[in-house]
């Protein structure tokens, strides 16, 4: 039953498995479902396990079940609407006149005809049934004799609910806010035993007690705490201006995450040379050499930048965009040193991956595993940072 729906969901990237599908079949075979609306919620509760996929589900549902709602069902709604004189009173006099110019049956016939002809959802325009048009059918239209179908009514149908796509904002490939970034960063943890000994070590206690001929000897151990140290290097200014909001969100999330053992951040412009900076205005410099000395290789390095610059900025001596940097070594040498120094590093690129075929972006990508600065990308990057090497 509905097997194609399963594949429609899969195609829409909803992670459904056979287990869940079998559960749905079990529920259906118990025979509690009497209509499409109930099916919509039942299937959603069983198949979709995160609000992030509710929207994908809505899209798939719409696609698969389109056309199940028969025209006659809708004309019944319209008939009901027409039967109620109160509804007609909401029209102005002019509208009334226009309304009367059209025969009811004519209106209905026309509607049914058009519903049959129409195969896609339609917004705008003057003929098809849809929204925002001047056709007499559909909602939010301008035709005074028009009939609102769906729209704000309370008794909504499953397809209409799906069409509303109210969960669009929960998709995690689109939106990023500080809380979400924080959750993603929570993945950056490696538990190890540090701090004072405040946890009873049972095994050791038993052993020690036994050795002590039954005289109880309590043994303690350190509790597990997160040992992850993070270094954040961010590209600021220039082409990064357009991503300023996104980057500042990432920064505040990382900065307010309390679970890191240590967190440092520095800024650079376009590429890293002899110095990195402690402030966005790039006044307080510290030498990159020094940075590599004080940062142990086990710091998890997050680089944020679009890696988009003139090839000379990356490849040439004295190539820095600020001439006063006088970099003796080209940027690429510094980047390589950094990539080799830290055992775990990733590059987060706020730019759309479609534009990554730029020379310098590709060269940077060869040195650092690069991920888009979206929730998915960040998640992947974080996983990359905690793999054991």
């Amino acid at each position: 039953m509905f097997t194609d729906f399963f594949y429609t969901l899969k195609k829409r990237k909803v992670p459904v498995s056979i287990t869940e599908w079998m559960t749905l079949m079990e529920a259906l075979s118990q025979g509690y479902i009497t209509n499409l609306d109930e099916f919509y919620f039942l299937a959603r509760a069983i198949l979709v396990k995160s609000e992030a996929y509710y929207d994908h589900y809505d899209v798939a549902f719409q696609k698969y079940f389109k056309g199940i709602e028969t025209p006659s069902e809708i004309s019944e709604q319209i008939l009901d609407w027409l039967k109620d004189p109160l509804n007609r009173m909401t029209l102005t006099e002019e509208e009334q006149a226009l309304f009367d110019s059209m025969d009811f049956d004519e209106l209905l016939k026309e509607l049914e005809k058009r519903l049959k002809e129409q195969t896609e959802q339609h917004d705008g325009g003057g003929h098809w049934i849809g929204r925002g048009g001047t056709s007499p059918f559909g909602h939010s239209g301008y035709h005074p004799a028009g009939i609102r179908i769906g729209g704000e009514s309370r008794g909504r149908h499953a397809i209409q609910i799906a069409q509303e796509r109210r969960f669009r904002n929960y998709r995690n490939d689109l939106t990023l806010d500080i809380r979400q970034i924080k959750i993603a960063l929570k993945g950056l943890r490696q538990l190890s035993r540090i701090g004072i000994e405040d946890e009873l070590d049972l095994e050791e206690t038993i052993e020690a007690t036994a050795k002590n001929a039954g005289e109880i000897e309590l043994m303690w151990q350190r509790s597990r705490k997160n040992a992850v140290k993070v270094l954040l290097l961010m590209d600021v200014g220039g082409s990064m201006e357009s991503f300023a909001l996104l980057c500042s969100q990432l920064f505040s999330a990382a900065h307010s995450s309390t679970h890191f053992k240590d967190f440092h951040y520095y800024y650079f412009h376009n590429c890293i040379y002899d110095s990195v900076y402690q402030d966005i205005e790039r006044q307080e410099a510290i030498s990159t050499e020094h940075l590599l000395c004080i940062m142990e290789p086990d710091y998890k390095l997050l680089l944020v930048g679009d890696a988009r610059m003139a090839p000379s900025e990356l490849m040439e001596r004295y190539g820095a965009i600020n001439y006063y940097e006088h970099n003796e070594a080209p940027g690429i040498v510094w980047l390589k040193r950094i990539a080799e120094h830290f055992t775990h590093c990733v590059w987060l690129n706020p730019d759309d991956p479609r534009f990554w075929n730029h020379t310098t972006v590709q060269m940077t990508e060869k040195m650092f595993p690069m991920f888009p600065l979206t929730l998915d990308g960040l998640g992947q990057a974080v996983r990359r940072l905690v793999v054991k090497k």
Partner: protein, 290 residues
């Protein structure tokens, strides 16, 4: 295995208003005997749902609050070795019977209960990432094995299991596959009105509408660290009713704003946005921003 009273068991209770999709999800979970995983914004009544289910179905509720240090084993049973060791030293209890030192955890109690119970596993995402996986088999089979006594505890009646999560951590896929999932949306105005009326049966219409209007306007402001939620709204209305505030004043000055905005920064931000009185420097700062 279909039973006649299958699908419409849970109808909400007099003090907890549910939406239809949520009721459906609960009933599916009960009928299929799967755990129900509930997610949603803080303050949308995730925890209260299980209380309502317990009341609605007239069953006992067992709550297992998860903390960051909670381990799966604790929910099943704990073998109190230290106590036994201690007793053996002083010899004031019979230590030969290990059963005295096996204490059932919340999950164990739910299984062992002679009648069906509602089991709430609250904030499952607080615990270690592996925690849900450790419970997979137990929740699936509804049974576990006590090594020390060579006994199996099998659920007499499978408990109605409700699991809540704040999505702080991702839950493992294998765990998710076995659950029924529902995301509690923030209630719309109509549902909210119903909810408020449950708590304040004789609230005046004017007051309610003004309060709701103001409340949803506040929620539309995107920049709050913590948006006011249902529980805060209820507190606020309680304060309004107790204070006898005339409804015309509500939207103008928002009395008792402290019950709605819990963070100092939110409060300052709000004051700056609305031109209210706030102390000195910080206000200027926000004034510069907007």
């Amino acid at each position: 295995m279909a039973s006649s009273n299958g699908f419409d068991q849970f109808k909400g209770s007099s003090d907890y208003v549910t939406s239809e999709p949520l009721r459906n999800a609960v009933n599916v979970a009960i009928a299929l005997e799967r755990p129900l995983l509930i997610r949603g914004e803080p303050g949308t009544g995730k925890t209260l749902l299980s209380h309502s289910i317990a009341r609605g179905l007239v069953k006992k509720l067992i709550t297992w609050n998860i903390k960051s240090t909670t381990k799966a084993q604790e929910g099943l049973y704990v073998y109190d070795t230290v106590q036994r060791l201690n007793d053996s030293r002083f010899g004031d209890r019979d230590v030969s019977d290990i059963k005295h030192y096996i204490k059932l955890g919340k999950l164990g109690q739910a299984f062992a209960s002679p009648e069906q119970v509602v089991l709430l596993i609250d904030e499952v995402d607080k615990a270690d990432i592996e925690f849900p996986n450790d419970l997979l088999n137990e929740l699936d089979e509804m049974s576990f094995y006590i090594t020390e006594t060579d006994e199996s505890i099998r659920a007499v009646h499978r408990p109605v299991t409700v699991i809540t999560s704040n999505a702080e951590k991702e839950l493992p896929d294998a765990f998710l596959r076995r659950c029924i999932f529902h995301y509690i949306e923030f209630p719309d105005t109509e549902l909210m009105e119903e909810i408020i009326r449950v708590h304040f049966p004789d609230i005046k219409n004017n007051l309610l509408h003004e309060a709701l209007k103001t409340f949803y306007k506040l929620r539309e402001m995107d920049d709050f660290r913590k948006k006011p939620s249902t529980s805060e709204l209820i507190d606020w209305i309680r304060a309004l009713v107790a204070g006898g505030i005339p409804h015309e004043n509500i939207s103008k000055e928002i009395p008792f704003i402290g019950t709605l905005l819990k963070k100092e920064t939110d409060y300052d931000y709000f004051m700056a946005r609305t031109g209210g009185k706030s102390q000195g420097r910080r206000r200027d700062l926000y004034g510069m921003l907007y």
